[in-house]
Symmetry: C2
Subunit: 683 residues, 2 copies
Amino acid sequence: MNGRTAAKARATGPALPAALDDGRVRAVVENVTPSIDGGRFAAKCIAGDRVVIEADCFADGHDVVAARLLWRCDDEAQWRHQPMVPLGNDRWRAELVPEAIGRYRYTVQAWVDRFLSWRHDFERRVDETDLRLAARAGAALAEQAASRAGGDAAARLADWAARLERAAHDERDTAQLKRLGLDAAMAQSMADAPDLGLACVHPVEFPLVVDRERARFSTWYEFFPRSAAQRPGVHGTFKDCEAMLPYVAQMGFDIVYFPPIHPIGRRNRKGRNNTLTPVDDDVGSPWAIGADEGGHQAVHAPLGTLADFDRLVQRASEHGIEIALDIAYQCAPDHPYVKAHPEWFRRRPDGSVQYAENPPKKYQDIYPFDFESDDWRSMWRELADVMLFWIGHGVKVFRVDNPHTKAFPFWEWAITSIKAQHPDVLFLSEAFTRPKVMHRLAKLGFSQSYTYFTWRNTRRELTDYFTELAHGPGRHYFRPNAWPNTPDILPETLQYGGRPAFMARLVLAATLSASYGIYGPSYEHLEATAREPGAEEYLHSEKYELKARDLDRPDSLAAFIGRVNRIRHANAALQANDSLRFLAVDNEQLIAYAKSTPEHDNVVICVVNLDPHHPQSGWIRVDLEALGLAPEEPFQVHELLTDARHLWHGERNYVSLDPQRVPAHVFRLRRRVKREQDFDYFL
Amino acid sequence: MNGRTAAKARATGPALPAALDDGRVRAVVENVTPSIDGGRFAAKCIAGDRVVIEADCFADGHDVVAARLLWRCDDEAQWRHQPMVPLGNDRWRAELVPEAIGRYRYTVQAWVDRFLSWRHDFERRVDETDLRLAARAGAALAEQAASRAGGDAAARLADWAARLERAAHDERDTAQLKRLGLDAAMAQSMADAPDLGLACVHPVEFPLVVDRERARFSTWYEFFPRSAAQRPGVHGTFKDCEAMLPYVAQMGFDIVYFPPIHPIGRRNRKGRNNTLTPVDDDVGSPWAIGADEGGHQAVHAPLGTLADFDRLVQRASEHGIEIALDIAYQCAPDHPYVKAHPEWFRRRPDGSVQYAENPPKKYQDIYPFDFESDDWRSMWRELADVMLFWIGHGVKVFRVDNPHTKAFPFWEWAITSIKAQHPDVLFLSEAFTRPKVMHRLAKLGFSQSYTYFTWRNTRRELTDYFTELAHGPGRHYFRPNAWPNTPDILPETLQYGGRPAFMARLVLAATLSASYGIYGPSYEHLEATAREPGAEEYLHSEKYELKARDLDRPDSLAAFIGRVNRIRHANAALQANDSLRFLAVDNEQLIAYAKSTPEHDNVVICVVNLDPHHPQSGWIRVDLEALGLAPEEPFQVHELLTDARHLWHGERNYVSLDPQRVPAHVFRLRRRVKREQDFDYFL
C-alpha cells in the first residue's frame, strides 16, 4: 500500500463509537452475584438477612481500584452505597441488609481510585525529588476532593492539601513529608469523597425481593373445612374450623391452607372416587369452582358466610396461624364467568366450550381459561382481582393450584403488581412438573414452591435433591416447601411403610426443609389406602366426599408432630436451608445431615432410618470443623425427640434406630462451656 | 373487607404492564449457550465450524413447543432460521455452520405449536364424536396455514383442509379419518408454515465472531529482524529476513512475529543488559518506539525501507508464512507524538511528561499514553490508524504488547471496527497478568491470548490449566497460544533442564495447544543463561543488543522442531483444543493426553517425560471408548517422532522415555481395518 492508499484507509477508518459515552472509563464490573438470568429476575431474601453481593471489579494497568455496592428500595429515588472489600483475584464483596420488606435493586460501581493509586506509589518512593513532586500531585488530588466534599471534610482536606504542598517545597525531613502524605485520617476523608467522574456502574439493576420471615420458615397444615365438623354426614363450617384451631396450634403449625372455599359447580359434578355418576348428596370437588350463586369471590354457602370467614381469619391469627387460600384459576361449567365472559374460554368447532382434556382422558367438570384469548387484558385483571378480594379479607398467603398450566407472563405481572401494593403477601406454587418449568415459576415471583420431595425416598435421592435445593443455582430464588402427602398424592412409601414411614417422612420434611406441610388429619391418622394398587390417589378421596375423624385417636401422630414442630421453632438452624450438609454414614439405610446457624450457636444433627421395617445402626461421621468444633473437644448431643443426652467424642459416632419406636434422631449439639468439680456443663 | 373496600381495591388494582407487548406469548427461551456475559461479548469460532447452539425452550401447560435458531451475518437484514431439536428436559439444540468469516449474531425463537399440539391429541383420541370435532379443528388450522404458506404448499394445505373437513362429516371409517389427519407430508407442510404470531424471541442477539482457521491453529516464530544478518556487529535488514524465510519455513512455522520495527528513541535509551549507561553503538530496545524520524508508522532505517518490508511480506507469503507485527502503544521520549500531541500524555507537577514507573522502579525511556486524556477520541483514532497503516502493507496479524495497560474500551472499539473492515485480521494479546484481566481482553475481541503455560511445569499444573482452557467457561472466547519462552521470559525449567527440557516444553506447547510459538533462534539453540540466579531475564538479552548466530549449529533443535510442526500439520486432532483429555499414568513424572477429531478419524496420544534428568516409565490408561475403540480391539500406535510402531491391547499400556534421547512420544492411533493372510493392516 502506498501513501495514497494509507490516506484512504484513514479517511474510511473506524467511526468512533456513538453509544460509548466516555472512552476514559477504565474500570469494569463483571459477574455480579446473585444474578438470576442476568438480572431478568429477582433474587429473594428475608428482611434482616445479610445478603452477600459479589462482583469482579478491575481496571487496566496497575492503578488501585475501588468498588461499592449501590442499592435502594424500588420506591426510593437515591441509591444507598456501601464499600465493597476485595477478596483477592479481583473479586469484591459487600453485604446488603434490607431492613424492610419490599422490592429492591442493587448494582455495583467501580472506579480507578487516583488517590489510592497515588498513595500506593507515594509509600514506595525513595528518590527525594520524586517524593517532593509526588507530594505536590497528592496535594492537587486533595484540593479536588475538598471541592467535592461537604462541610468540615472540605476544610480538612483543603488544609491538608495546603500543608502537603508547603511541605513538598519546605520540608527538610522527607520522612516527615512521607508521614504527612500517608496520614490515615486524610486517607479516610479522601475515601469519603471519591472522584466518580469516570466510575463504571454495571448497567443491570439487579432486582431483589425482600419477604417476611414466613417466606423462608413456615409450617403448613392443609385440611378440608367441609370436613371440620368431624361428624359423619355433617358438612363442616368455618365455625367448625375455628374449633379446630387449638388442635392445629397445639401441633405447631403456623399456616392453615384450605382447598377452594367457593361454590362448587353442579354441571358434570364428580361423584365419590372421581366417578362420573354422582348421587344427590355428593358434595363434588372444591376445585370445580363456581356455580350460579358465585365464583372465585364467593363463599360456598354450606361453609358459612364471608363474615364467618373474616372471623375465622381473626381467630386463627390469635393462635399465630395464617389462613392460606387455594387459588385455582379454572371454572366449573356453571361458573358465572362462562356466561359473562365467553371470550375467556376456548371453543370447539361445534361452539361448545372446550373442557380440560388429555386425550383420551376428559375432565368435563373443568373449563380452563384460554390465556391466548384476545380479551386477555380484562381476564388478567379479573383474575388478579380475585386475589385482591381475599387480601381484603385478611388473606396473606396463597397456595396456587397448577400455576404451570397458566401463562407465565400472567404470573409475573400478577405477583409483581400485587406485591407492590402488598409486599407481605406470599405465593406457594403447586407445580409438580418438569424442573425448568418449576424454576421459571419461582423466578417469576412465587415465594415458595412444592418440590419432588414427595417422591424422593432413598439416601442418594434425598442427598442429591436437597443438596441441589440448598446449594444449586436455584438457591437464590427457589424456596422449597416439602410435603410428604397431599390430597392428590399418597406416595408409595406411605402406602407400605406404616407408622414408621409416616414418622420418618415427617421428620425428613420438617428438618431437610425450612418450610414443609402435611395434609391432615389424614396424615396424623396414618391414612394409607390407595384407590388401587399402583395408584397414588387415596381410596375414598376427601376431594370428592366429606370425612369425619376422631381427632383424639390414641394412635394419632399429633403429639409427635407437635414435638417436631416445637423443635423447629426452638432451633434456628432448622429455619433455613443454606447450611444443610450431609454426613457420611456407613449404613445405606441411614441418612444423616446437619444444619447450623452461621455463628454455630445452634447446630442440629438429624439421623433418619429410611427402612420402615428393620432397626438400623451405623457410624456417622460428624464434620467437626464445619460445625465449629475443635477435633479433640467432647460435645454433648441432646436428642430432642426423647430428651436423651449422649457425650460424643471425635468425628465417628454410633447411632441405632428402631423404626418401631422412633425412626429418627434430632440431636441438638451442645458445647462444653466449663468444667467444675468434675462436672462438665454443656450449653 | 366489605364490598366498598373491595371495589376500591379493584379501582386501585394493578395496572396492566405497559412494556409487555402481548401477554399471550406463552413460550419462553432461557439459558441460550454459548453466552458470554449474557451476550455482552461475542463467542468465537472458525468458518466451517459446527457451532452448537442450545437453549431451554418451553411453555406453560401440556401443549407442544417448537423452536428454531435464528442467525444472520451482521450485514444481512434477514434472519436465517433452522429447526432446533429437543434433547430432553426442555433443552433444544441446533448447529450453526457459518461459511464465511465476519461477525454474526444468533438468537432462539420458540412457540406453542398449535398444530403439533392438535396432532398429538388427535393421535390419542378414541371417542368418535371427539375425533370428528377435532378433525374440523385441524382443518381450520390447515386453512390458516394455507394463508401463510406460499405457492404450491398453500394449495396443498387448502386442499387437505377441505378434505379433512369433508371427512369429519362424511367418513364412515374413523380409521381412515385418523390417517388423513395424521398425514406426514401435511405435517411437514404445516411445520414449514408455522404460526409465529405469538412466538417468543430471546431478546438478546448473541454476537459471534467467525475467524479464519489460523485463529485456531497457528505456529509462531518470533525473531529480531535486526539480528537476521547473523554476523557479529552487523545490523540485520528485511533483506536478511528474506534470507531466513526458508529456514523458518523448513521448521514448519506459519507466522513470523517481529518485535517493533520502528525508529528507536535516543533519549534515555537503555544500554546492554537493560543498563542506564548506553554506549554509542548500543542499539536500544525496539519497544522504545519513536524518534525524530518517525513513530509507529515508520520503519527503523537500519532495517531497510517500507518497500523492503512490503517485499518481505510478499516473499513470506510465498513460503506460506504471514508476518505479524508487534503493536506496542507507548512512546520513547523523542517520539513525534510527544511534541505533536502533548495532551496524550500525563504531566508531573513540574510540567515534565510522566514516564512509566512502578515505584521505586522507573522506566524513563518509555512514556505511556494517558487513556484518561480529554483528547482520547483523536488519540484512539490515531492508534487505530497505526494498525490500519500496516494492514495496508499486508499485515494481517498483530501481536499486541501489554494490552492490559491500555484502557479496555479502546480495544473493544479498535478490534471490532478494524475487523468490520478487515475480518481476516487477527490479534494476539500479550497480557501476562491476572486471570480476569486476561479473559476480559479475550472477550473484548483478541483472537488469541498468551497463557500461563510458560510457568506450568508439573503434571498437576499442566493438567489443571489445560483442562480449564479446553473445557472451562472461557473456551468459547479465549484461544490459548502457548510459548515456552519469549525475549522477556527464560523460565527456570529451561535454565536448568538442558536440551531435554527444551524438547519436552516444545512438544507440550505444540500438542497441548493448537497455537504455540517460540522465540528463536534462541530456542533451537538452547540459550539458557539468565541475567542472574532467580531472574527470568536472559543474560545479554537480545532486547538491548544485536545477536549473531550460526543457524547450522549441529546441536540445533531446528530439525526436531520441524518434525513436530509437520506432525501438527498432518494430524487434525492437534489443530484444536476442545477434544483434549488427560490420561491416567502411574508415574507422576509422566504426563499423557489424547486429542481426537470429532469423528475419531485422527487420534493422537502424547506422553511427555517431565523429568529432564532421568528416564521414566509407567503404565498409561487409554480411555478406549472416548477414542472410539471397542474394548477388545487391538490397535497400533505409530510413534510419529521416531516412526516406530507398537501394537497395543486394552486400556493399560507401558511407556518408557529417556530424556537423553527423546523425552516425548507422539503416537498416532491406527485402527485395524482388516485381517488378511495372518497380517493386520492399520490405517
